[in-house]
């Protein structure tokens, strides 16, 4: 937020000694300023990228400068989920469950090649090719692992995004607005099952049945 200093001209009587200390801003401005400078990430390390995330938070890179050093161990107190590492099929139900427990407004930062799109392990049988197959992602940080500098840049990008939001249009204050909402938790069957895709899976199963009966 850029602070513009202006002399206050209004009918409200302000005592002389605090005149210098009164600021006027838009609700949006103060709301976003406060939010963007106190993003609390969740303590949530998945793989190698988590090590760089810890380095970012520790003394040399000092995430505290951005008001983000308060890592919360529970999703219910967090604003930001940093998906730091490889998302495996076995892990993704837990991740979605955690996301569902975070209160709005919530943000997801996808850190590293693995979370962005499967990374080096993309072809493998046990890996989800990107967290965005399940969760809405706000910022992608490339790298394997991204350096602490890159992660900080990603976080600053997120701050910019937050500052551009308007309290009148953000979904979580809309009366009938569409919420980012609850993501159905994927289940572990013979392979990972995304419950939003049950119809597609049934269609495909019918197709294979047709092929086998014809043959």
């Amino acid at each position: 937020m850029t602070a513009t200093t202006r002399t206050l001209e209004s009918d409200i009587a302000i005592p002389d000694d605090v005149k210098e200390n009164v600021f006027i801003t838009s609700v949006n401005g103060i709301y976003n300023w406060a939010r963007s400078n106190s993003m609390w990430p969740m303590v949530f390390g998945l793989a190698c990228c988590a090590i760089e995330m810890i380095c970012t938070a520790s003394s040399r890179y000092d995430l505290a400068r951005f008001g983000m050093e308060v890592f919360r161990a529970t999703p219910r107190q967090s604003d930001l989920m940093i998906v730091s590492g490889t998302v495996t099929k076995k892990m993704v139900p837990t991740i979605v469950r955690l996301y569902n427990q975070m209160p709005e407004p919530r943000y997801v930062l996808s850190m590293g090649a693995c979370a962005n799109g499967g990374g080096p392990f993309k072809e493998g049988y046990a890996v989800v090719d990107g967290i965005d197959k399940f969760l809405p992602v706000d910022v992608y940080v490339p790298g394997c692992p991204p350096t602490p500098q890159a992660l900080i840049f990603g976080l600053m990008t997120l701050q910019e995004k937050i500052r551009a939001q308007s309290i009148t249009s953000v979904p979580w204050y809309q009366k009938d607005g569409e919420l980012t909402g609850i993501v159905p938790i994927p289940v572990l069957g013979p392979d990972l099952v995304d419950l939003r895709q049950v119809d597609v899976i049934k269609d495909e199963a019918n197709k294979t049945k047709l092929v086998t009966t014809e043959a």
């Binding site: 380095c55 590492g85 394997c144």
Partner: protein, 601 residues
């Protein structure tokens, strides 16, 4: 005068060669592996138990290092490979191989009753290869979940995004346009279902089994209505060091049962590794134990060098040792920081040790281009020579300051805070005890083994690189508790510094390129002949082994297995925690020093 009654008999140690000869005379059914370049004793599955017993009890080969499944699809057979070492005699392994038909009826007797260290490894072979182990107490999947269909490491099991047997793939850029595999898959995801399978509803109850297994009945004390509680810790928990999960049964606050659940970071490393060319696997090894990528590189390139017969220039060996020892220092710094964090000294000691860690990472970055994932070693050397400057300082003056001043000073600060601290000592002493016998029996490795009084370090027992020319001690403590493990790691840091100082002397004196002079490394190296090799190195976490098997003229590995110390070290977690409080459980886990990338691979 004290009369020594049981003067120990002068025991002659059996070397691997003698042991092999002895086994062959005792069991006429044993043959040599007939395949080219493969060295092992082929044992009939009916004989396995008695051969193993003879090896362990009579010949003193009491350390079962690695158990691996192999899919020999051409012969329609599955194979299990065992590498057994002698702690006392040191030296190479006695390798046993058992082959069984590839159909569902076949099984191999489990070695778990004899070596508990086989427990997780046999479960892994069952999970990934579908090899049944008779007599295994708890043969469940370990890395995948129970409902998963198929055994994914089998050669005929293909993934959803599967393309070709060998890399580099031809298909990603047909006509110069990139093809995203998601677009070819009807689900847009990396999934594949059995033919005709449709989801029906709530059949995926992975959890109930897990809890049912561990739930103990209410207490038997008559007249007292007490219940035991089953608590789930992880996979998302600040003190499980990653995505590790423990299901714990508590009586009050005391742990009465515990089941580790892993696989939450299983990244199909081995499956991808068998498709990659040799050199493509090097960056993947970085991501095993991601705190010690240089050591992983080292261990892997040594395995392939053995297979290919590549010579390594002297300067490269010194650089490798320097990297490995600096890695050991930063790994132990990290491990100690987190461990102290786990016993209650929140963050301060940890953050202190990171200051020096960052210096080492800067050095790694200057050398290899990356802080963590160094990808630095190559077959026959390293990728580049050392740079001239690090952080604007002349390289050797930087390194001299680092190993002579900065790291010792950092360690002194740390020790001043922790070593005599009453709380730290109270929490560490006498907790999580592991006896010498158990440590060997459960195939513990690295500091875990040495903290239980076993003087075993691969750098000494089977020296590789130039470790036999260096002067250093192996710290051994006999207490077997958390304190002993802490001490071993502290001492190892100082020993590593000692090694670094010696290596720096050699490095300054050697000239010449630390790689093969013939110019660029070839992308597609071909194996000159078929063969298999088990190569191990002493990683900061313990013995990291690579079992590699190639066919003649191949550009990629036929079998690529990693013996991961973190994974096997978890075998004793339950035993060490039972009887302690939940808070101690966290400390016990911290003292094992696991990295999930290596546990789950």
């Amino acid at each position: 005068m004290v009369e020594i009654l049981d003067a120990p008999e002068e025991q002659t140690l059996t070397t691997p060669d003698e042991a092999i000869a002895a086994l062959k005379t005792q069991f006429p059914g044993i043959t040599d592996d007939p395949r080219d370049g493969h060295e092992a004793l082929m044992v009939d599955s009916a004989d396995l138990l008695s051969v193993a017993a003879a090896l362990k009890n009579d010949l003193g080969f009491e350390y079962l290092s690695s158990v691996t499944g192999v899919d020999l699809i051409k012969d329609d057979k599955l194979e299990v490979v065992y590498h057994v070492y002698s702690i006392e005699a040191g030296g190479g392994p006695v390798t046993l191989k058992v082959q069984v038909p590839r159909d569902d009826s076949a099984s191999v007797p489990s070695l778990t009753p004899m070596w508990r260290g086989a427990d997780f490894q046999e479960r892994e072979a069952w999970d990934l290869y579908g090899i049944k182990f008779d007599g295994h107490p708890d043969l469940r999947r370990i890395l995948m979940w129970e409902e998963f269909v198929g055994h994914p490491m089998r050669k005929d099991w293909k993934e959803a995004f599967y393309e070709e047997d060998h890399k580099p793939f031809g298909s990603r850029w047909p006509g110069g346009d990139v093809v995203r595999m998601e677009e070819l898959n009807p689900f847009g995801k990396n999934v594949r279902y059995p033919d005709g399978w449709t989801p029906t509803g709530n059949e995926y109850d992975v959890e109930t089994n897990m809890y049912g297994m561990i739930q103990k009945a209410s207490d038997e004390i008559p007249g007292l209505k007490t219940d035991k509680v089953t608590v789930n810790i992880g996979p998302q928990h600040p003190s499980t060091h990653g995505v590790f999960r423990m299901v714990v049964t508590l009586d009050g606050e005391t742990v009465v049962a515990l089941k580790p659940v892993m696989g939450y970071l299983h990244r199909n490393h081995e499956k991808i590794g068998e498709r990659n060319t040799f050199i493509q696997n090097i960056p993947y090894t970085d991501r095993l134990d991601y705190l010690s990528s240089m050591c992983n590189n080292h261990s892997y390139v040594m395995a392939i060098e053995k297979l290919l017969g590549t010579p390594v220039p002297e300067r490269a060996e010194w650089i490798r040792i320097l990297m490995a020892e600096l890695t050991r220092i930063v790994n132990h710094a990290w491990a100690l920081g987190f461990f102290i964090n786990d016993i209650g000294a929140l963050q301060t000691p940890m953050l202190m040790l990171y200051i020096e860690r960052e210096l080492v990472l800067d050095f790694f970055e200057a050398v290899s281009g990356a802080r963590m994932m160094c990808n630095y070693m190559r077959f026959g050397g390293v990728a580049y020579d050392l740079p001239e400057h690090v952080r604007g300082q002349e390289i050797y003056s930087f390194l001299d300051t680092l190993v002579n001043e900065r790291i010792p000073a950092g360690m002194d600060d740390f020790l001043a805070l922790i070593d005599k601290n009453e709380i730290a000592n109270a929490r560490m002493r006498g907790v999580g005890i592991l006896s010498r016998e158990d440590a060997i029996n459960t195939s513990m490795a690295g500091p875990m083994l040495r903290a239980s009084g076993v003087n075993y370090d691969v750098r000494r027992a089977e020296p590789y690189s130039y470790y036999d020319q260096l002067d250093f001690d192996i710290p051994v403590y006999s207490e077997g508790d958390l304190w002993a493990r802490y001490k071993v790691r502290i001492d190892e840091i100082y020993e590593s510094l000692k090694i670094c100082r010696q290596v720096l002397g050699y490095l300054k004196a050697t000239k010449g390129a630390p790689y093969q002079p013939e110019g660029k490394q070839q992308y597609n190296i071909r194996a000159p002949k078929a063969g298999d090799v088990y190569s191990r190195a002493e990683n900061p976490k313990g013995e990291l082994g690579f079992y590699c098997k190639v066919n003649a003229k191949a550009t990629n590995l036929d079998r690529y297995h990693i013996r991961a110390p973190s994974f096997i070290n978890l075998t004793t977690l339950e035993q060490m925690s039972i009887g302690h409080k939940v808070a101690d459980l966290v400390a016990v886990l911290g003292s094992i020093d696991i990295v999930l990338g290596e546990v789950d691979r």
